[in-house]
Symmetry: C2
Subunit: 125 residues, 2 copies
């Protein structure tokens, strides 16, 4: 991908993802119906390609340094309905239909606690 200007990146129709120094974009996963944020992960170019080709969310695991098909083991895959891209193209939202709980803990969303007066409180509903 050749370089494009900041103005083109913000207002144009060319998808020119701006990977960070580690080669990653931030990916926010949001339920397509409820708009609940289910998880946050990172995508490298391979994860982005695999997601676009298969329609199933793939990420890059920073801890394992490898491509990661979400739900590849658990079956709790995320079918991608829509991909939104932010102004400077360094973050995406995946609007998904989840096959099961998004969190490896079994919770529907990874964001099951709120920070309240310095401590975490469970807010699962």
């Amino acid at each position: 991908m050749s370089e494009i200007s900041a103005e083109e990146r913000e207002s144009g129709t060319v998808f020119a993802p701006k990977f960070d120094s580690d080669g990653l974009l931030t990916a926010v996963v949001q339920h397509v119906d409820t708009r609940e944020v289910l998880m946050v992960a990172f995508m490298n170019a391979d994860a982005l390609d695999a997601t676009r080709k298969t329609g199933i969310a793939h990420f890059f695991s920073r801890s394992r340094q490898t491509l990661w098909k979400k739900g590849g083991t658990s079956g709790n895959t995320l079918a991608v309905s829509q991909v939104l891209v932010d102004c400077d193209q360094d973050a995406v939202i995946l609007l998904v239909e989840p096959a099961g709980p998004a969190c490896h803990t079994g919770a529907r969303t990874c964001f099951y606690r709120e920070l309240d007066c310095g401590a975490l409180q469970d807010v699962r509903t």
Copy 2:
């Protein structure tokens, strides 16, 4: 903050943010009423402290390498209603009431385009 076990980090009540190698957490900003994702940014310990003390969202600018009060210049601040924390405590959601457009382009959200058949389409409503 002393080290805690992965199990305590996931299931406990102790807030022990897991900053990455650059000292950052990922912060997803979501409108408290509509649940629209408005922007994604990063927080270091100072940004987190400033946000918790003031109730106004502060971030760390990766490009400028400095603490950044969102809306400090434009007036488009984000009043934080609730902070959600994810399972491994390396990402937060700020549920906010925005004083104006969240995006520096003037858009309500930074995510004003969708990726469709390889090109970006404006989805502003």
